[in-house]
Amino acid sequence: MAAQVVREAATMAGVSRPDIDAVVVAHPGDHTRQGYFHTFLCSSLGIAAKGNVIQVLGNGMTGGHAFDQAVQLIESGRAECVLAVGVHFESGIPTAQHLDYSIRLTGDVDFQSIFGPVPISWYAMDAHRYMFEYDVPRDTTAVVAVKNREHARFNPLAQFRDPLTLDAVLSARPIVEPLGLFEVPARSDGAVALIVSTEARAKLTGQPYARIRGRGFDHEGIHQIADVPTSALDYSALTRAAHRALTTAGTELADISTFQLYAPCTIVEILATEALGLFARGSGAAAAANDATSIGGRYPVNTCGGCLSRGHPPEVSPLYDVVEACSQILGRAERRQVEGARLAMCVSELGKYNAALVHILEAHS
């Protein structure tokens, strides 16, 4: 799967195998039998590199790191043409077996994991608290699942493209209450390869390309929840990372045409839009219900269908988001095209948005 997408990406970018002088691989997770996957992949593809060959890992941000490392290799001058690739084969092991591993990732292994908090259970508790604190009914938050499915219907890469009704979302079996089957991510396989190069090399291809115009990062210094009573809903790392990205890009939130947000659950997308400042605290769900985050709305969010409908192979999802951002700003998104899109924001996170990594991409044609 990985080798095929690499060949496809190189062809699209007008790059041949010897041009690639660095490789960054998103760690493929515990489902992949082959260890040291990055060097194995280079061997399979016959890529010899002078810049770097590295595998990166950073929770849900893993794919974001892969892209970010590729960008940094270009910025530092150590490479001119970097392959950033992620592959995720989640269906390789059963869900319960995967959860044996993943509860050790999101919880303190001796004082939290012992109670069985599966990764999405942390978001579920955010959902309950949000409904309590802002008096928001579940059907308002659940609308995000329907909205994202509408977007995915026109995405040929999406895992789920059948129409989805609000009734179906609300009546689905519970997974982590209050969230049901369609408000949490399905298990997904996937692979993405990106070519990141110097602008001089991109110009040589004679094709339109995307420029990285801004970048921001922030980690709030806690994992999942603070050890003192404080709001768990403010996702403040995203607020700060986005501010840094907008500042380095020399632009404003209002100028961003489309937002690709790492949001494994409905509530996460809502809280992320509020942390970005698109909507006031407590009003993000209602804004989504009023189509503000739909294609054609004021702030189109997750135009590819997001983690819920495009699919969520976690280590790969942020790379998919870069693909979608490029599709949008280069005018290749067909029936899900945001009219006149020029600037796109991509956001990945780790923990429970304890950290956020933000890139702003701009079309250049």
Binding site: L99, D110, F111, Q112, F115, G116, F132, I225
Partner: protein
């Protein structure tokens, strides 16, 4: 000084996902066995920390004393989980919650009640779950 042990709820069988016990955390589990939920308090800056860690995240001091936490607190949020790791399959469905104790500590633990949305923000107290191989801590609605 808190000298009344927490209520204990007896469970047959071993803990499904037992914690490791290290030289640093042994006092915590020994105290819990005796009915007391404790946390390290930094001797340099006075901050309580949970989960227990050897260094204070606020000032990096190692100096600490173990403080017995008062049992009373409030339920910040909760969820009931319907898909579990293999080790916890026998517990399904099970509820976990974020509890804010009056002593200013936030922790995650099991809820022994069938909590509902209306219970968010309500008062809880900590309890000890005593298994065959050792204790766990939990909370229940008052």
């Amino acid at each position: 000084m808190i000298d009344v042990p927490l209520p204990t709820i007896r469970h047959n069988g071993p803990r499904p996902f037992p914690p490791r016990v290290s030289r640093f955390t042994r006092p915590f589990w020994t105290a819990l066995e005796q009915g007391f939920l404790t946390a390290p308090k930094c001797q340099a800056c006075g901050r309580l920390r949970f989960p227990p860690r050897p260094l204070c995240p606020a000032c990096w001091s190692e100096d600490h004393v173990w403080i017995v936490l008062r049992p009373h607190g409030r339920l910040y949020s909760f969820t009931r989980i319907h898909v579990a790791p293999r080790a916890l399959d026998g517990d399904l469905p099970y509820a976990i919650g974020i509890v804010d104790l009056d002593d200013g500590v936030r922790l995650l633990c099991r809820l022994v009640n069938q909590a509902t949305f209306a219970d968010i923000g309500r008062e809880v107290e900590t309890v000890v779950l005593q298994y065959d191989d050792g204790p766990l801590f939990a909370a229940r609605l008052i």
